[in-house]
Symmetry: C2
Subunit: 414 residues, 2 copies
Amino acid sequence: MSDQKITRRKMLKLSGMTIAGVAIGASGFGGVAKALGYDFMQVDDNTSTKNKINFYGRYQSGISTPVQKHVYFASLDTSLSTKEELQKLFQMWTPLAVRLTNGEPIGDSSSNAYVPTVDTGESMNLDASNLTLTFGVGPSLFDKASFGLTSKKPSELKDLPHFPKDQLDAALCGGDICIQACADDPQVAFHAVRNLIRAASGKVTLKWAQTGFNSMPKDGGTPRNLFAFKDGTVNPSKSEELKQTVWIGNGESKGWLTNGTYLIFRRIQMHLETWDRTSLKGQEETFGRHRDSGAPIGMKNEFDQVDITSTDANGKLLIPENSHISLAKKAKRSILRRAFSYSSGIVESTGNYDAGLMFISFQKDPQAFIDIQNSLGRVDRLNEYITHRGSAIFACLPGVEKGSYLGENLFSTL
Amino acid sequence: MSDQKITRRKMLKLSGMTIAGVAIGASGFGGVAKALGYDFMQVDDNTSTKNKINFYGRYQSGISTPVQKHVYFASLDTSLSTKEELQKLFQMWTPLAVRLTNGEPIGDSSSNAYVPTVDTGESMNLDASNLTLTFGVGPSLFDKASFGLTSKKPSELKDLPHFPKDQLDAALCGGDICIQACADDPQVAFHAVRNLIRAASGKVTLKWAQTGFNSMPKDGGTPRNLFAFKDGTVNPSKSEELKQTVWIGNGESKGWLTNGTYLIFRRIQMHLETWDRTSLKGQEETFGRHRDSGAPIGMKNEFDQVDITSTDANGKLLIPENSHISLAKKAKRSILRRAFSYSSGIVESTGNYDAGLMFISFQKDPQAFIDIQNSLGRVDRLNEYITHRGSAIFACLPGVEKGSYLGENLFSTL
C-alpha cells in the first residue's frame, strides 16, 4: 500500500530474491528455515491465481474476508526462549504464508529424492481455494519472561473471565500463537497449517486444533448453524463499521497492534438432541428470530431492524426478554462474528453428538465480547442448549506490507 | 427397474400417497414414524433436481457412485427386539432417504409451531449436493436372538480377524446398522444422518460416527490422501468388473443379499509427523509409486500397469517387495476402495495430529479384504506410518426399487 516505505536496505535484500528462491528448492526440508529465514521479502502475491485472496495488505486477511467453507484452526505453544528466535519464526513464516495463499507449495518438490520434500504435497493439483492465514499471539506468549515482551503486552490481552455457564476443558483452551487457516477446501486449509508447523519444527508444538465448516446457501445468503438458524446476520461489513468495531487504530492500543485486532475463539457444543425435542416456537423464542426467514420475531425479512421493545396487540414483547438476540443487543456492543460449525463424531461418555459452533469473533476491544457474554449471563434461553467447552483469545497481528513480515512492529521499538 | 414387479396390494397403497403426504406435514415430529411407517412407496426420486443421485435402483447408491467431497459415517446400535419392529424401521427410513437424496426436508416445516419441526432444517437453501445414503447391517444385529434372523446371517458376515498391527479402540468398532452419508456438502451429509436417527428416536442410538473429506483435483484426477499420494488409482469401475468384485449375484450368498455387497470400514490413523521426516524416495518405496505422478515406480503415468517383477539394469526390483502395492497385488484379490481423509484435531495423549484415512471398501467377499490385509501383514513398509484404530463390517442391503423398501428381502421368506 502507498503508505508503506521500503528502506534502501530492504531493497537491496529484495534484489537477491532470485538466488534465494533457487536455494530453497535445492536445500530440501532441513534447509527451509535456513533458506527462508531472512528472505521474507522475496515472495509476492500472485494476483493472476484463481480463487486467490491476497496475503499482503494493511490488515490480515481472514478477518473481514467473506467467510470460506472450511477452517483449520490451530493453537500452538512455543518452546523458543528469545525475542530474536521468535522474530525469526515470524520472518520465516511470512514468505511461506504468501506462497500458500498463492496456492503454491512452500518449496519446489522432487528436486532431491534422498531428503524429505520441502512441501508435504497433499495440496498438489488443488488451487488456492481462497486460502487465508491469520496469525495471532496469546497472552501466555508475553508472560514468558525470556522473550522480554512484557512491556508490549496490551492490558486487554488476557484470558477471558469465567462466564456463568462455562464448562471449559483446559485441553481446548489458550495457546501462545494461533493460525487460523480458512479455505474453500479442507485439505488446502489443513495443508497450510501442517506445513507452517513443520517448517517450525522444534520451535512450536500443536496445543489444540479444530476443523469446521460453513455450508453456503445456493442463493448466496447467510449460512445456517446446526440449530438451523442463520448465523451472522448482524455483522459490521462497511469500511467505517469495521474501523469502529474491528481494526485497532493508531493510539488505541500498543503501537505494534495498530491495524490488528483481537480474535476470540469459543468451542460451543450444541446439544442437538435437546434442541430437536423443542417446538419451533420455543426455538424461535430462544433466538428471538424466525428460523426459516431469519427475520426478528414479528418481522418478515432477515435484515429487518431488531427492535427489542416492540409488542403485540396485548402489549407483550414480541422478542422475549430472555432471548439470545434481545440480551445480546442490550449490551450495546458490536463485534464481527465469523463462525463455523463443527461435527466431530460423538462424546464417548454420553453418546451425544460432539457437534456445535466454532464461535470466532473479531473486535478491537475484547471487552465488547465480555459485555455481550455477561449480558447473556445465566438468563439466555440458549444456555439450555449449549455448553462452552473451549476458549482462547489472541491479538491478531497487523497486516503485512510487501517488504515487511508478520509482527514486525512487535519486535521493533514501537 | 423393469424386472421389478409391483403387486396389486402395493399399487393400492401407492394410490393413497397424497393423503399420507399431507398427514406427515400436519402431524409434527412425533407423528413422522407413524405417518410414514408403511407408506414407503409414496415418495419418488425427483429426477429434475440439480446435483442429484437417484435413490432407487438395483444397487444402493454410494458404492459405485463417483466419490463425493464429504462423508458422515454413522454406526448405530438398536434397542429394538422384534423382526417386525426392525422391518418397520427400514420401511420408515425408505421414504425419508428418498426425500433426503432429493434435497428435500423429510417433512413440511413450520406447519405447527407448537411442536418440534419434522425436519431439523439446517439443510434449508442447500441443494441435494449429490447426497447418497448407503445402509448396512452388522454381524451383531443377527446375533440378537429376539430378531429371529439367525438363519439369515451369511457366514461371511463376521467381525474381521485381528491383524498383526491392529490397535483397535472398541469405541470405534462394530455396530448393528450403518448409514454412510456422502455428499458434496458436509452439512447436507450430517443433516441426513441426524434426521434419520431422530425419526428413529428410541429405536437406535449412535455408537460411533466419523466425518471425512476428499479434495478433488481441479483436473478431475484421483484425489490425494494426507500422505500426498493418489488414493484409489486401481479400482474396478466397469459394470462387468463391479459384478465380479462388488455386487453379490444370485446364489452367491443368502438370497436377501443378492445385489448387495459388504462394506469394510477401517479408521487408519496416519502418523504425519513420522511420514514428513521421510525422504521422498523412502515414501515412494513405501507405496511402490511415484508421489507426484502416481505412476508405479519406474513408470511414467498413473494408470500404467503395475508389474511387481520389473527390475532395473542391475536386476534389482523397481518396486520393492515390501512396498504397499507389491504386497497388496500379491494377494491377487480385487476390492472397490472408496476412502476419505479425516482430520479431527489432535490426539491429546501424544499431541500428534488425529488425522488419517477413513478406509472404506466394498467387495462381494470380505475374504478379499482379509487376504490383502494378511498379505500386507507385518511386512508392509507402510506399517511404520499408520495405525488401525477402528474397524467394522456391514452387509450392504440390495438397492431398493420403487414400491419396495430397504432390506425387504431380509424380512421376507427369501
